[in-house]
Symmetry: C2
Subunit: 323 residues, 2 copies
């Protein structure tokens, strides 16, 4: 397949190249595209050196265009790529709630991808790992309510987030910032929308989780927090289910579910952490505990690499569905 990567110089774009190679995606030719500012950079992939091309007409003829270049680029250029006959898999939030654009996590709702009209949206990183863990639990026990607090790495905001944290830890002044608060030794929120008090990230997690699970009225409470972690998002999740649930039953279900690695021997320090998932494409689940504060309550800890399963890997898995 002919593949274009739009936003090839960013953290997610580079990870897409890595994942395409690791998963032996059948790439026949690749076009690396970016904003005019980043065009001209050279990127080595599979022992060949590519020069990043500026995103401009005429577009290259490709079968799949993987976008990770921000909402405004996706708004303008995804329909243009789709018009050439390519299928766009877009990592920005721009198309995610468009009813004509499927929002897909291959372990959860793969058949939605087949309904595409040229654009498929890749969900928010925190949403992807949450729904991979929730889907098998919903099928087995019936989800009634989800309460989640996140521990998100700064790479969720791209290279700029990594740069701000590393500059602050080195005692220097960051050249650009993703937050007016310090990131080093701190816990901060994403940009918060004035009208209802939720952050953009919190709104995305609520809406996208409902859409991907096809549970329009799922009760869900979300608090999204950035912590001084470079890569890997963790989530403290509390669920209530229709039917009785126990840690042992949940462990049985999760250990047979696609895309999940269960690591749950906490008395021996075995549980997932952001550092442990650095090279993983899976969603790691641990600390299954009964929640006695609710009828049919369960607590769990969900960790994934936000650049891989939370972005690049999920996008490549969607492309695999199209083969």
């Amino acid at each position: 397949m002919r593949v274009a990567i739009v936003g090839a110089t960013g953290l997610v774009g580079r990870t897409m190249l890595t994942v395409l190679e690791e998963r032996a995606f059948p790439v026949t030719c690749v076009h690396l595209l970016a904003s005019p500012r980043s065009a001209g950079e050279r990127i080595v992939w599979k022992n060949e050196t590519y020069t990043v091309e500026p995103l401009s007409e005429p577009l290259p003829s490709v079968d799949v265009a993987l976008f990770s270049a921000g909402g405004s680029v996706s708004k303008e250029w995804a329909p243009r790529f789709a018009a050439t006959g390519a299928v766009v898999i877009d990592n920005s939030s721009y198309w995610r709630m468009d009813p004509d654009v499927p929002l897909v996590v291959p372990e959860v709702n793969p058949s939605d991808a087949l309904l595409h009209k040229g654009i498929i949206a890749n969900p928010n990183c925190s949403t992807i790992q949450l729904v991979v863990a929730l889907k098998p639990l919903h099928e087995a026990f019936g989800l009634k309510r989800v309460i989640v607090s996140t521990y998100q790495s700064v790479s969720g905001a791209g290279q700029k987030g990594v740069d701000q944290l590393q500059a602050e830890l080195a005692g220097s002044t960051p050249t650009a910032r993703i937050s007016p608060h310090p990131l080093a030794y701190n816990a901060v929120f994403h940009t918060i929308e004035a009208q209802h008090g939720d952050s953009e990230e919190e709104i995305k997690m609520q809406r996208e989780t409902r859409r991907i699970l096809h549970l329009d009225n799922l009760a869900i409470a979300v608090t999204c927090v950035r912590v001084p972690v470079l890569g890997g998002h963790a989530e403290s999740v509390v669920i209530e289910t229709e039917r009785p649930i126990t840690p042992a039953l949940a462990a049985h279900v999760l250990s047979h579910a696609p895309g999940i690695i269960l690591e749950d021997d906490p008395a021996n320090h075995s549980y997932p952490t952001p550092q442990r998932v650095a090279d993983s494409d899976a969603v790691h689940v641990g600390r299954l505990r009964a929640d006695s504060s609710a009828k049919n309550g369960l607590m769990l800890w969900v960790v994934a690499n936000n650049l891989r399963k939370g972005a690049a890997t999920n996008a490549v898995q969607i492309a695999e569905l199209l083969q």
Copy 2:
């Protein structure tokens, strides 16, 4: 009053000295005590140099003994100090669930302190900031259920936690560890008890919260997480109440409650963070949001300095109740 500090060389012991001076506690003489290993160290307080004495018989005659030297020291030495007529205010977990030992947060249950028989327990750091925020909400709306996920700093484990994080961030090997997992760029759990899957910290928060609020059957779900923060604990809290609650009503109640500073203008980036509470003795609350996933649901974000309000300040406030 004559004051002894047992564990004077530790992070909390040193903060106790700072807080005694800041609050102008009427100290007539002070004895600084520590394990034989730390005895002999010199500490300057109020322009006088004190030599740290080894904890041994005969004990100095004091009115108040502030302990922060670990559970085994408290077990052995708190009753001995109490036998001399001193009142022990103990920061370890050893006496906290003893029915003969009051567990006190002065803003929440000050009159419990009067029932002491020589020992008063200072609660767990994460518990203190939680109950200061919950008490006024309980009085106004009636607490039914509490779900909390913490973002705790490494200084909660004392100097050893700070040393491990700083060594790892500097790329060197820590000389001692509080966790077999890396703390730098990570999110980890406290030591987990094999028999039921909760960590010691999670068990403390459940039991102590119920005891301090005098709500023996309070439904409470707790997940405690350490993040790469040096000082300051944050908590993502979701509550359900008996009576209707709104963010505006909760803000009104909290803004008139003792020991609380409300910072809740998140669209202008105004909310508490661990870094912002570095010099504060208050419990800072922000991000009051309606939780539409439950009847009478509210979300809030609670931050305090774990060495001050979470330990030293609360202990000195208890001592003030005894005057």
